[in-house]
Symmetry: C2
Subunit: 488 residues, 2 copies
């Protein structure tokens, strides 16, 4: 199958047995230095296991590695992956050389192609790649970051030195995780890495594909369908290269793994900006909505939704239905979740008669506050304790009418201790339905409670509406899967 | 004028010459302990300057203060402010005593009134207050926090002790600032304090008014109109007590200071939740939209918007028109701002012919990148330097066609150093039009750059859409003021 062949080919980008960095440099300010050094470092750490060659006609050696003037001059017959960081005009020659060394993959970092009108040069590169059967990422891209194999072609160093002389983290690489990032915009891509690393979220792999003269968003989606480390795919696009290919591929992917898309260029102003950015014709936004819907792709409306949804889908199962129960110790924020859920088409219905009776027993026996409200949202009021929240969550979690829980445990109230998190994690460990947590605040205890939830695989949010949006993504994807099964 | 009399009366809540805490306690777990201790601490720090009396018939002294069995037994003729933390049933007697001591203000923290059906008790308290000419906040509220006068009736201690024995910040009190918080929900109120403190934002005063048997959102709005330390008012409400009074008051306020409202109970599910929370009849959401529009109140659709808008309006002037120029070093995020601006009704038009010519000169002379895009968004690409961003911002800031700037300086690119922030601050220091900054990321450099911007009074956001939303608030308020002036 052709699909499987591409998947095999794309592996050369992530697990190459040999890499040549063309344009490797000794100068710390050069992209070719940063990229080559990434490989050197990751080799030293035992992450990158392939052979490594710097290519630069003006140097004898770089960072202890003997330097070669060209790919052709390398003392081996084959180079699996070629990373190209030389000016655009030299790229065709490099590709010719790569062809001679039977290269399987090339990442062209260099810019100066169609995005600035140089279509002819781009076509020449494409032709050589096609003749040599070399798969290409780019040009005008950042390429690949893989936290496990140690391939890291990002030319932005992890740290930056401030004018004061202080060194600070500037472009962190997230740890290993379940989320794949596929991005058309390199700048947004590194921003995403910065966001995910800061929020302690891991990634499986990162790919920035830029001008996509060969591999495009559909090929990469297909690759990640087969990638075992990837459980959720987050995709930033300004346009899709081939609508039919995209929808067909995405359909195959979304029946197995959720895909979240941030598609920009929605408006006239945005589409105009996209045109001058990646020469993307953004297209009618309604068409994208329809395509995403058909393909089971969840569309994020903005950056926060993109990451919020991604986190939820990487940690919790999709919901089987749309009836969400809100459990809260704070009235106002409970209303905010109810509002946002209903606005997004979810239902806030009462739990079952049977469940209600159990809650009433708790209330009558003084195990939850006398004035607790048992309708949905279930409001345990400021008199809540860890024990109360656990007992109520246990009943609600096993209630047949409930498809998912949004739990607001605002930590400010006196009786709530952080141990309720452990108990909630235990109660919901079967993963039979999703739970989302929310605690508001940006100081110590709020940060601690949210991070504690996430260590147990329960995504936690800092605003009620973000929590509702996360639950929406789980319901949307769950409904899509339900409909698929029904159509079988 | 009656209005001015209420303003004078409300001052007794924030700057009382004497306070009695009825229900003060020695037990650390009691609300009456926390509140009394807040006053003791703030007196020790020299913040709270009034006389302080604990009231509790079972104690001789609390925290070194001689304790009195009742307000009546106090050795003074007058007590300006009475803070009441005793069970609901005792509140009428306390109010009678306060009347005898000519109290001007009472904060009734106690719950157990109309929110649980005890309307009669609530009416009795209201009657006594009316007879005694005592203004009341509450019942079922948190009362007041004033970072300058040291009045702090929040019964949630600043820190909490985890089960491990570690003490962590749980309910921080923000530093002094320009934002007033008026909230119907106490829980949301403390969550807001936690958010603002963590984000280094200050407040002028905080009021939680709960069941509002006397003072309501309109009275408090009016008070903050006259409060010199308040420049922006953030208001969380589930309902408005009197529509006409609210609109008339708000109109007077918004011609001087911006008001941002987070009104929950927007949907059927939310309205139902609000009813059981504060017995609020949420009303038709369209009616609130119309009322807010008429009164010049900016409506936030969710918690993030609420704080994002508040920050913008507390730091930057309103925009004179709707034409926003986006300056970016990152194509994708620039598109995201353009999309969100247009969706919110702002315009992303080209800058003036004259301004464009100046930018072209920069480009032709190599002072900005050859491939920079000069249409709006102005994209300086990943080759940006601090100098480029400063030169372009200077031209755009003085361009007559531009009403506001959203500046995206993603720090990941190699050539951008944090010193560009100083230069932008200098260029825009005249405050003749607003500027909003954005840098994406959650690790060191992103946090540093955003906080540096905010030290200069330029609000900085972590997502492109949040930045656009902040600019929207400045445009919305600017347009409202323009229309007012036109109608004069």
């Amino acid at each position: 199958m052709n699909d499987n062949r591409i998947v095999e080919q794309i592996k050369s980008f992530f697990e190459p047995s040999s890499v040549a960095v063309v344009g490797a440099s000794k100068h710390v300010d050069k992209a070719g230095h940063v990229i080559f050094k990434n490989f050197v470092e990751n080799k030293r750490l035992g992450l990158f296991k392939g052979d490594l060659y710097p290519i630069n006609p003006r140097e004898e050696s770089i960072l202890g590695y003997k330097c070669f003037p060209s790919i052709k001059s390398l003392p081996v017959n084959e180079i699996e992956l070629v990373v190209i960081v030389v000016p655009a005009a030299f790229v065709p020659q490099v590709m010719q050389d790569a062809k001679e060394k039977c290269s399987k993959a090339a990442i062209i970092i260099s810019s100066g192609f169609s995005e600035v009108g140089n279509r002819e040069l781009e076509n020449e590169v494409r032709r050589i790649a096609f003749e040599g059967n070399i798969r290409v990422l780019g040009p005008n891209c950042l390429g690949v970051y893989d936290p496990v194999s140690g391939v890291d072609t990002l030319f932005l160093p992890i740290t930056k030195t401030l004018i004061s002389g202080e060194e600070v983290i500037a472009t962190p690489r997230p740890k290993e995780g379940k989320i794949a990032i596929v991005t058309q915009s390199g700048a947004f891509g590194v921003a995403a890495l910065d966001y995910l690393a800061g929020r302690q979220l891991g990634i499986s792999k990162f790919v920035s594909f830029g001008n996509r003269i060969d591999l495009d968003e559909s090929d990469l989606l297909n690759y990640f369908l087969h990638d075992k480390r990837t459980e959720v795919i987050l995709m930033y696009i300004e346009s899709v290269r081939s609508g039919n290919k995209f929808i067909e591929t995405a359909k195959n992917v979304t029946r197995i793994k959720p895909v979240i898309a941030l598609k920009t260029g929605k408006t006239k102003a945005g589409a105009k900006a996209a045109l001058s950015h990646t020469a993307s014709i953004a297209g009618l936004d309604e068409v994208y909505n329809a395509a995403f819907f058909q393909a089971g792709i969840i569309r994020a409306q903005n950056m926060n939704e993109f990451f919020n949804m991604g986190k939820a889908l990487s940690m919790q199962p999709p919901a089987r239905g749309k009836n969400i129960c809100i459990i809260t110790d704070a009235g106002g924020p409970g209303i905010m979740v109810a509002d946002e859920c209903e606005l997004k088409g979810l239902k806030i219905e009462s739990i079952s008669e049977d469940g209600l009776r159990k809650l009433e027993v708790l209330r009558e026996s003084g195990q939850i506050p006398k004035f607790a409200s048992l309708s949905n949202p279930i409001d345990l009021t400021g008199s809540v304790t860890s024990d109360m929240i656990a007992k109520v969550t246990e009943i609600v979690y096993h209630d047949k009418k409930v498809d998912g829980i949004v739990l607001l445990g605002l930590h400010h109230v006196p009786g709530l201790q952080e141990d309720y998190v452990d108990r909630i994690a235990l109660i919901t460990s079967s993963r039979e339905k999703p739970i989302i947590a929310c605690d508001i605040g940006e100081t110590e205890m709020a940060l601690y409670v949210r991070s504690k939830f996430e260590k147990f695989g329960i995504p936690a949010y800092a605003s009620p509406e973000d929590a509702a949006c996360a639950m929406y993504a789980l319901c949307y994807y769950g409904e899509y899967l339900n409909n698929l099964n029904r159509c079988k």
